[in-house]
Amino acid sequence: MSDFDYPDNLRYTAEHEWVRPGDGEIVRVGITAYAQDALGDVVYVSAPSVGAAVTAGESCGEVESTKSVSDLYSPLTGTITAVNEALDAAPELINTDPYGEGWIFEMSLADASAVEALMDASAYRENLA
């Protein structure tokens, strides 16, 4: 799995989500290269609605591939501020560009410092090993 890219500027969870810290308390969330490869071709994403309150570690949606369905877990606690509507028509963006065009949602954190508690890239790589 070492051939996948795990950018150093992101934070990671054991459920294979990435979090991109942004300005202030808004962060962007997606699934990692490892997760998209394990799922296979992503064909449907059920993301939480804008305004929904989500809790760290709890299921907030689903990512489906041709083969299976996986829960999408919120990496942190807060409120959904945006969802990637491009995934409705092109869910395969999660496979082709998991850290870019394949982002899933943005959220406003209840506690902006909570992101620091997530794994950094090297810790996530070790977690996969």
């Binding site: 296979g40 059920s46 489906e64 083969k67 369905v69 496979n95």
Partner: protein, 369 residues
């Protein structure tokens, strides 16, 4: 189950060398998909060009001896007298209550020789059932690890076979026993994808070189090596039943829409009394297609609900159709539900709307001459 306990196809090392994702299929460790392909690309290759699949996990068995074909005909549901020597037939092995122990293909080689391709997980059971009632002089052999099976499927499959000097163009459901590079191989005009195609049955030890040569011929034509993930989406688009999902010891051919594969006028076959009664009663659930009109993908065991909110059935197979770009499903539904009705599917608590349709979900190419 640990993967250590799983059986390996004669092509196993080739799959792992390609980096295929492997999974348990009926007790065999088989490829789901390959790097550089993936289910959707592999599926599309078969619909538009050509793909090859290792399906060596499928069972192989032989019933031989004087009266072998007549004996098989008295056990399995379909009527072997409908076909002649050199043809294959889709048939079912039922229990006495009419439930399906397995669905299989019977190859009529002569009145004294019938070759069977059951499903991987059911081969031993089918062989035991046939052995238990075999009259003196008739032998039933489990040849599971004597042969490999390679499916070549898609509109360019004739070109691929011709490039190897193999026969093509014989009728749908017929087979030719020939040789390739001096090695015996059976070339059957069969498949599980809905596309024009062939299934090749080489001896176990000869499967490797045949696969390698086919893989090159397929790649030269823009085709792909395909895993069993794509085989499942292809067969679901056709509405072909999968044993364990759409057929089972609790699901009869009457319910599954497989009554066409039953020789009702035959004097005897396993399950005849129960099936005849169920067919006449017209009360059992029936298998229908569901085409999702909203967003979402139905999966096995999802409940189907009518417009009044009543549960009217259950999904037996569901997936994403790469061709339709929609969720599709096969479901056992109450007879109160008609083709064209709108129903809801409870997909893990979320309601997904669907229309009741008659499969296939895509155009059929399989019989074109």
């Amino acid at each position: 189950m640990s993967t250590d306990a799983l059986l390996h196809s004669p092509l196993h090392d080739r799959h792992t060398a390609l980096g295929a994702k492997m999974a348990d299929f009926g007790g065999w460790l088989m490829p789901i998909e390959y790097p550089g392909g993936g289910v959707v690309a592999e599926h599309t290759a078969v619909r538009e060009k050509v793909g090859i699949f290792d399906v060596s996990h499928l069972g192989k068995a032989r019933v031989s001896g004087p009266g072998a074909a007549a004996y098989v005909n008295a056990c399995l549901t379909n009527d072997l007298e409908r076909i002649h020597i050199g043809k294959a037939q889709y048939t079912l092995c039922c229990n006495e209550s009419g439930g399906v122990v397995d669905d299989l293909i019977a190859y009529l080689r002569s009145d004294e020789d019938v070759f069977l391709i059951p499903n991987a997980a059911n081969t031993a059971t089918v062989v035991e059932m046939l052995q238990a009632e075999a009259p003196t002089g008739i032998t039933v052999e489990n040849l599971h690890d004597q042969y490999g099976v390679i499916a070549v499927q898609g509109t360019l499959s004739d070109e691929v076979l011709e490039s190897l000097g193999l026969p093509t163009g014989h009728d749908y459901m017929s087979f030719v026993e020939t040789d390739w590079e001096g090695l015996p191989v059976i070339v059957c005009r069969t498949g599980y994808t809905g596309e024009r195609g062939y299934e090749l049955v080489p001896m176990w030890d000869n499967a490797g070189p045949l696969w390698d040569t086919l893989a090159v011929a397929v790649a030269e034509r823009g085709g792909l090596v395909c895993g069993l993930g794509a085989r499942d989406t292809l067969r679901t688009e056709m509405g072909y039943p999968l044993h364990g999902n759409d057929l089972s010891p609790d699901i009869t051919p009457v319910m599954a829409g497989s009554a066409w594969a039953v020789g009702w006028d035959k004097p005897a076959f396993w399950g005849k009394a129960a099936l005849t009664e169920q067919r006449a009663a017209k009360t059992s659930r029936l298998s229908r297609g569901l085409l999702v009109t909203g967003r979402g993908i139905p999966r096995s065991h999802c409940a189907v609900i009518d417009s009044e909110g009543a549960s009217v059935g259950e999904v037996t197979s569901g997936t994403f159709s790469p061709t339709r770009k929609q969720g599709i499903a096969l479901a056992l539904l109450d007879r109160s539900v008609a083709l064209g009705d709108s129903v809801s599917i409870d997909v893990r608590g979320r309601v997904v709307e669907a229309e009741v349709v008659k499969p296939p979900f895509v155009e059929v190419q399989v019989r074109e001459s």
